[in-house]
Amino acid sequence: MRALDKVLPAILVPALLALAGPAAAGPCMDRITALEGRLDKEAEVAISTSSGGQGVAGAREGQAMEGTGGSPAADPAVPYQREGKEAQAVGQAAAAGEGGDKVMQAKAALNRARALDQQGDAQGCEQQVAQAESHLGGE
């Protein structure tokens, strides 16, 4: 009976957890939380490397998104400032998740992961977190 006493709680715990619904803090949510902090920072970087001007935003984001694998185009098409400085700005935008494009997609995936986690779909959550990480290039 003593052994069963020990076994039963071990059996019951997962069952009780399943009955209680999705985990308030499970492995997937931990990954979401960790990635979220990074995403928040990257979103701010993406904002600051674009600009409030439509022309500059269009040029920087357009160049940043078209770079292969996140590398900026060698010569920015539009010199909004001296070419060296604007190339640097485009490079920064490219590094910021290809003008923010990858950050935006990662955020969507992460939000979806959170929703799936709350629905108890651990596998779906993990897949979406992996998707978010792949948009950001992983760590």
Binding site: I47, S48, S50, G58, E61, Q81, K85, E86, A115
Partner: protein, 764 residues
């Protein structure tokens, strides 16, 4: 005016000549290199713009010995009143008497002045504080100079309305008297400069300041780009490839050269693709007057290789966009899981909206003059982007930027068209072809409509699942539109984050499950930014759809709109998935649903929402957040038995934060209502065989005096706190106008308009 164009040029030579030999002026002497000359830190808003900002008073304030104050405006004036508003800020902190103030326009030189690119509704938003500091620093230097001359502590001297006053004794000195000594003083550290308290403002926030250019504009003295005349100037018009991406196949200039006054025909090479701001190429006819040039172009025989976009057809492309929007696309925003929410919805509603290409059509078409003398180029242009113009001109002509001067004239409208300096490059190229002789290139209205940087074309597909109470529980939005990125990068198929951040990824909805996608859409024409940019299709679709949902569940549209916006709350745009936020710090500029709700309430109250309207009349409402401001529009339309449409009244409520120049805010909202009415009712650019089908204002129909909304009432809504940062004004008025009108049409007729413009859709 012949021989030398004076555009109140702020060059030292021009200014000192005007002030008189030996004049002491604040701007003379050693450059004030203080803190204002340092590279601004990277960050948000103005800090992130190319070349940042300056607050060095010696760049913006000049005072002559007679006390005349010249304030320099570095932003392009296109009717929004920025020359007046910027001067109000400088003059207020300076404590200048407005009667002694004149405004000069700066040349394009961002390394000197900071960012001059006038777009994005950010002139006051970005430069309000730097201009306050510049004015206050100049005031401080005057006070210090007066104190020094009196031998009293500087703290005992105060500037008051163009006088320096020693407060204990009452002694006074005019600004002109102190200017010379002030110019010799160091620019004070910006941290030590005292700014006025809002209660002390004399001009900021005042409705009593008229436009500085009013007199010149109304008496014909104002100089726009199209007005520029130079000694010996030649005039050019250009036959451009009728299809974007095309080029000259052959041309015969013989007949053109026979036209009296025509002096030369020059071929301009087509640009590589992406073309960004390069001229389209074509055949230029240069003559001694514009009419001769136009007649020469008529006589020109040219054939064209139409290139890869020869078959671009608006109807076929619309079908392509619709097909794309009916399939999953690139995921750009998600909250919850819509695919799980839809099956459980009590009701499902779906709709597709079509928004055609638009042309900015500023009343002054693009025009520029250029000449090259001793290896240096001078250009006169109605440009929104002087620095780009300067750098691009230098590169195209093989000159150093230091050898290119761009004089910025007044702009007869811009709306984004004049941010792209292709027409200025044309003038430079043709001047070079004429051995440096001054050449003015004029675009006709047909040229402007045929060869624009068009507002994108869009299909917006929305689907919503509603619960038993009629509340949306699932929201799917697909936006398919060619991107502005296509002029900067080769063949992009998706919109850029900043386009999606205009009313899509930053849309505040009280809906638990949201999914937004951006299917592919290649570009076949030059796509450019047009006043309020992608906010137009996004606002039209979402605000129309919300009204459709209200109707589907038998709810009042205004109440339903408020329910979908949700309760008053602050929303971090990055939490929604927005990675642009108009370039602003999301901590400083969260999205405030309470402010959006407030403008809805004010617009509704203004128009008398819920009142009985005559037969054939209807009320519609819409609201939109853009350029970090909040705007709602309530419209009343009247539809006759024959389907004729008139707009008796529009109420527009705006919360743009603190208002520097309320008269200008009103004016911008009124203009936005008229422009939006045109988008709703009649304006569209369409293409067949790659060619724009509209030639002039007989086919590109913008509102006339008899079709514009009759009664426009602007409600300026104070922000909830006076210390909130400034929002934009130039563009935010536009996006909610069209859906408000279309929603009013539905209320009047029961007919739902899902494609713009309304045009003949109401005819019975």
């Amino acid at each position: 005016m012949r021989g030398q164009v004076e555009i109140a040029n702020v060059s030292r030579r021009g200014f000192l000549a005007g002030a008189g030999a030996g004049a002491f002026v604040l701007a003379v002497g050693l450059p004030r290199r203080g803190l204002a000359q340092e590279e601004p830190p990277k960050g948000f808003g103005r800090d992130a713009m190319p070349n940042g900002w300056r607050d060095d008073p010696t760049l913006f304030v000049s005072i002559a010995p007679d006390g005349a104050v010249t304030l320099t405006c570095t932003r392009a004036e296109m009717g929004q009143g920025v020359r007046t508003s910027i001067a109000m800020v400088l003059a207020d902190e300076l404590e200048a008497d407005w009667a002694h103030v004149r405004v000069a326009q700066a040349n394009g030189d961002e390394e000197k002045y900071g960012n001059q690119d006038t777009d994005g509704s950010r002139s006051l938003r970005h430069f309000f504080m730097p201009m306050r500091r510049a004015g206050a620093a100049a005031r401080t230097m005057l006070e210090q100079a007066a104190a020094k001359s009196w031998g009293v502590p500087a703290g005992e001297v105060r500037a008051r309305n163009h006088l320096l006053v020693h407060q204990p004794s009452g002694r006074t000195m005019g600004f002109g008297q102190a200017a010379g000594a002030a110019a010799a003083l160091p620019v004070p550290d910006r941290e030590t400069v005292r700014l006025k308290q809002p209660g002390e403002f004399r001009y900021i926030g005042s409705d009593a300041i008229g436009l500085v250019d009013n007199q010149d504009i109304t008496t014909g003295k104002a100089i726009y780009g199209i007005d520029v005349r130079l000694e010996g100037m030649l005039y050019a018009v250009i036959a451009r490839p009728p299809v974007f991406g095309g080029k000259v196949a052959s041309h015969d200039a013989a007949a053109a050269m026979k036209v009296p006054g025509v002096v030369k025909v020059v071929v301009i090479d087509p640009p590589p693709i992406p073309s960004e701001f390069e001229p389209l190429g074509g055949v230029a006819v240069i003559a001694r007057n514009t009419w001769a040039a136009m007649q020469g172009r008529e006589a020109l025989k040219a054939t064209w290789d139409d290139g890869p976009n020869a078959s671009y057809d608006s109807d076929a492309y619309r079908a392509q966009l619709e097909e794309a929007a009916r399939k999953p696309g690139k995921l750009v925003r998600e909250q919850g899981t819509v695919e799980k929410a839809f099956p459980g919805a009590a009701k499902r509603v779906e709709a597709e909206y079509y928004i055609p290409h638009l042309a900015q059509a500023p009343l002054e078409p693009p025009a520029a003059a250029a000449r090259i003398t001793n290896g240096k180029c001078e250009a006169w242009a109605c440009t929104q982007a002087p620095q780009v113009t300067r750098l691009r001109l230098a590169k195209r002509l093989g000159l150093k930027p230091e050898d290119v001067t761009v004089h910025v004239t007044l702009l007869g409208g811009g709306f984004g068209r004049k941010s792209k300096p292709d027409y200025v490059l044309e003038a430079g190229i043709l001047s070079q072809a004429m051995g440096g002789a001054p050449v003015k290139v004029t675009w006709t209205r047909d040229d402007d409509l045929h060869h624009g940087y068009y507002h994108t074309v869009s299909v917006e597909r929305l689907e919503a699942g509603l619960d038993a109470k009629g509340k949306p529980v699932a929201w799917l939005h697909r936006t398919a539109a060619p991107t502005i990125g296509s002029i900067f990068a080769p063949d992009p198929k998706h919109e850029l984050p900043f386009e999606l951040g205009m009313g899509l990824t930053n849309l505040v909805l009280d809906v638990p499950n949201i999914r937004m996608e951006n299917p592919e859409a290649p570009a076949h024409v030059r796509i450019g930014w047009y006043r309020s940019v992608s906010n137009i299709p996004h606002a039209f679709a979402t605000q129309s759809f919300i009204a459709e949902l209200a109707h589907a569940v038998g709810r009042d549209p205004k109440d339903y709109l408020l329910e979908v916006i949700g309760p008053a709350r602050l929303v971090d745009p990055t939490e929604l998935g927005d990675v642009w936020n108009y370039g602003e710090d999301p901590k400083l500029y969260p999205i405030d649903a309470g402010r959006l709700r407030k403008v809805v309430e004010v617009a509704a109250e203004g128009i008398g929402w819920g009142r009985q309207v005559p037969k054939g009349h209807g009320l519609g409402i819409a609201a939109h957040y853009s350029f970090v401001s909040y705007v709602a529009v309530a419209a009343e339309v009247a539809v006759g038995p024959d389907g004729s449409l008139s707009i008796p009244r529009v109420d527009i409520a705006v919360d743009c934060g603190p208002q520097v120049n309320p008269d200008r805010v009103r004016s911008q909202m009124e203009g936005a209502v008229v422009m939006g009415a045109g988008q709703a009712v009649s304006a569209a650019i369409s293409f067949k065989q790659g060619r724009a089908q509209q030639d002039n204002f007989d086919t590109y129909l913008i509102p006339r005096i008899d079709s514009a909304p009759r009664d426009i009432r602007v409600h300026l809504v104070a922000p909830p706190r006076p210390d909130l940062p400034l929002g934009g004004v130039g563009e935010p008025g536009l996006p909610p106008v069209t859906p408000a009108i279309v929603n009013a049409v539905f209320a009047a007729t029961g007919k739902r308009i899902r494609q713009l413009p309304i045009a003949g859709q109401l005819a019975t």
